[in-house]
Amino acid sequence: MKTSTKISLNLAVVAALGLFLLWAQGALDGYKIQILNLIAVNIILAMSLNLIYGFTGMFSLGHAGFMAIGAYVCSIMIMSPEQKEMLFILDAAYPWVQNAHAPFLVATIAGGLVAAAAAALIGLPLLRLGDDYLGIATLGFAEIIRVIANNIPRVTNGALGFKGIPDYANLWWNFGWCVVTFYVIVRLVKCNTGNVFKAIRDNEIAAKAMGVNVFGYKLLSFTIGAFFAGVGGALLASLLTTIDPKMFLFTLTFNVLMIVVTGGLGSITGSILAGIGITALLEWLRFVENPIYFGDFELPGIPGMRMVVFSLALICIILFRREGLMGMREFSWQGARNLFSGKRRAS
């Protein structure tokens, strides 16, 4: 298939997405639009974690930490100085916190950049660790960020967090960033740098022998992933309009990890499918937390039940389809065409 055909097909998909959003904005109620927004943010987060874990093979559990950094940086920058004066009741904010003010785009990028800088900083010592050790260390990092957020009230307003963050993050912003993230990560994974990432994942020793500066590339992947995690956190903050340190517990990382594993480690399109599916299911499954009636029999609703259902689902995925929905495969136009014309693997 010609490159120009592929490009026009991709553009057509983006246009279709735009039309869908235009329709959704007018036709859907606030609750459904909120779910769509969450889908976009979750896809961004899943793709960024997939770059780190699925493509470069670094088992990182620090996503909540990067998101927290992005969320706080962005919130501080988009809230007006007057608003912050009202908000910081425990302790007055530092002047630089008080006076920081920027448009939403600048604030989200700043959130991503600070998260990326944090990733580079902790990556220097941590990325020398292997698999499980890296997981534990990054988990510790996320906890540290949360504890810090709790304990610098003059920047983060302590345990009270922020309320009334301007809700700039509408469908367009969220899906816009989603498309940007998708584009950058797909390009990155498809170019030779992406091949090098995958080489490190597959066989680190062989990658070293091929002249790959393994540590440098790990740091690069980790930093880029953290950038988009920070952006995702920033969007989430503006979407929910309220953040506090308790929001960035390990469960947040777990949700993202669940999407990545379900979609398939090393499959961007898998992350997208799972991002849509799991976010929608998480909402739909709320009914299990309400009382359910079977005729006269009443099953009492238990809060948190849907997470139990989800954890069970994750266990089943690990047991029966370890490679996730898509495995390492990607959806491609060529593949779709072959599927429709009934051909397997055209050469």
Binding site: Y183, V184, R187, L188, K190, C191, N192, T193, G194, N195, V196, K198, A199, R201, D202, N203, I205, A206, A207, K208, A209, M210, G211, V212, N213, V214, L220, G266, M328, S347
Partner: protein, 261 residues
């Protein structure tokens, strides 16, 4: 004028705790030659390779390539300086296609970076195309071009070995280290391999150091041989000298065979 020495090892010693895996390994290898490194199992041959390619930092001694000191430098520096290697147990990038495996080797000399790739800059597009072509040419050389889009771990054993060599060649080495390239091959395949090694030496202007247990192969292609036993270099010289060296026979067959040989 003496032939040019491209690679030099001076008194390489590797100790793991109390165990001396290699002691005082010295070698001077002429440009364009094929040199063999042989010895019984556990003699320290692969340890030598690991020291030369930067995977181990030698306890003592130095490594020079073209007069440049590479002792204790990380593997990617050694590789950039022009040392490439293959592995005793094949280490391919299994989830990648055959072509991508070779392209990862090309990455070392790549000038454009990921940022240019994301932005579709012309410099990147041009280089990417050139890299693809070069990788395909290399696959052509090793006879795997028709399998370019297959996944690496789906290849048969012999092809995986050749792919490993193609991948090493993609880094544009001057000095190639082959760790048991003929392992698991039948006599016919070994014959082809010998010709193949000779061919790539001329075509790519290489100097080759090879570890091999198949004596037909070693005696057939090597111009100079080093023999290790328990980490000590017990002999070196031309193949015919090695064949009749009593120390070598003793190391391989045991003391009682020496008098009969």
């Amino acid at each position: 004028m003496n032939p040019e020495i491209i690679f030099e090892a001076k008194g390489l010693t590797m100790r793991f705790g109390g165990l001396t895996a290699v002691s005082e390994f010295s070698a001077a290898i002429e440009k364009g030659s094929i040199t063999g490194l042989i010895g019984p199992n556990g003699a320290g041959k692969t340890t030598c390779f690991n020291m030369i390619t930067g995977f181990y930092r030698p306890t003592e001694g130095q490594v020079f390539l073209k007069g440049r000191d590479l002792t204790g430098k990380p593997p990617y520096t050694a590789c950039k300086a022009g040392i490439a290697r293959t592995f005793q147990n094949i280490r391919l990038f299994n989830n990648e296609t055959v072509l991508e495996n070779v392209m990862i080797g090309c990455h070392l000399r790549q000038k454009s970076n990921w940022f240019q790739a994301v932005l579709f800059m012309p410099g990147y597009i041009k280089e990417d195309r050139a890299m693809r072509e070069r990788s395909l040419e290399l696959l052509e050389t090793v006879g795997l071009a028709h399998l370019a889009n297959e996944q690496a771990d789906s290849l048969p054993y012999g092809a995986q070995r050749r792919l490993e060599i193609a991948r090493a060649l993609a880094t544009e080495p001057h000095f190639l280290l082959l760790d048991e390239p003929a392992a698991g091959m039948n006599p016919q395949e070994s014959q082809e391999l010998m010709q193949f090694v000779r061919d790539i030496r001329t075509d790519f202007d290489l100097t080759i150091l090879v570890i091999e247990h198949d004596m037909k192969v070693v005696m057939g292609i090597c111009e100079h041989i080093y023999v290790l036993d328990y980490g000590v270099t017990i002999a070196q010289g031309k193949p015919e000298e090695i064949q009749s060296n009593p120390k070598v026979i003793e190391a391989y067959l045991g003391e009682e065979y020496v008098s009969h040989a």
